[in-house]
């Protein structure tokens, strides 16, 4: 039933990953950055599943890895957003370029 060649999926996830990085680098809003990080993790997941489907000997590993990645991503998002909330409460802003005290 599998019709797609592996390289197509890899290229697709690469593009998705590149878009994620672009978002992380460029978004002005911190939550925007977090969202793009989620996107990047998702791209990685696709790769995991694709490889476990196409190449790996024990099919479950890829999926379990993906499962763990999703769990970790969820925790990261949770903690990240908690920090953003705390930051917002203190500094009343979530724009990345306004949060720049940690410099020389």
């Amino acid at each position: 039933m599998i019709v797609l060649p592996l390289s197509h999926i890899l290229i697709f996830s690469l593009l998705l990953f590149a878009i994620g990085i672009y978002g992380a680098l460029v978004r002005r809003n911190i939550i925007g950055i977090l969202i793009s990080i989620e996107l990047m993790l998702n791209a990685a997941n696709i790769n995991l599943i694709a490889f476990s489907k196409y190449t790996s000997l024990s099919p479950e590993t890829g999926q379990i890895f993906a499962l763990f990645v999703i769990a970790i991503a969820a925790t990261a998002a949770a903690v990240g957003l908690a920090i953003v909330l705390a930051l917002y409460r203190i500094r009343k802003t979530v724009q990345a370029n306004e949060v720049n005290l940690l410099k020389w």
């Binding site: 590149a18 878009i19 672009y22 978004r27 002005r28 379990i64 969820a74 917002y88 979530v94 990345a96």
Partner: protein, 174 residues
Amino acid sequence: MPILEIAVKFGTYAVMAGILIFALGVVTLRNLFHCALCLAAALIGTAVIYVVLQAEYLAAIQILLYAGAVVTLIIFAIMLTEHLAETTIRQNNSQSPLAITGLLGLVALLTVLILRTPWPVTQTALKAKVSVMGLGKALMGTYAFPFEVISIILIAALIGTVVIAKKDDPEERL
């Protein structure tokens, strides 16, 4: 049934394109709420991709966890931090040209890599069916330890977020 396969192939390509478009939306849209929604759409799209890659269980998990929990969390955060009627300001900052060039370089580099390296695609892997039973056994068997560790991490994150995000009103201090 070649036609169905062709249909599925085109379907997946279409879904991939859709995901990419939504991803671009996530990155470039000014209104943060729209980005979150595009993210949700993108995530559901990847769930569809998982289904195509015969990983239904993971697709369900993806929808349940990612689209359901993480996106809701993000939307909660957006609601709490965005002013309701705020005029949206230009989103990207000065780094975009440099970032774009870097990205194009990366994409070019890796696509060449992907196309050139002979991936060890094995027929047996293609045939293998992954059942939920198998996943359950693997999770409980070989990956039992990571499973426990993940639970601990989740709890820690849970407590962490509560502590960080809690409004520290003085009289209630521990």
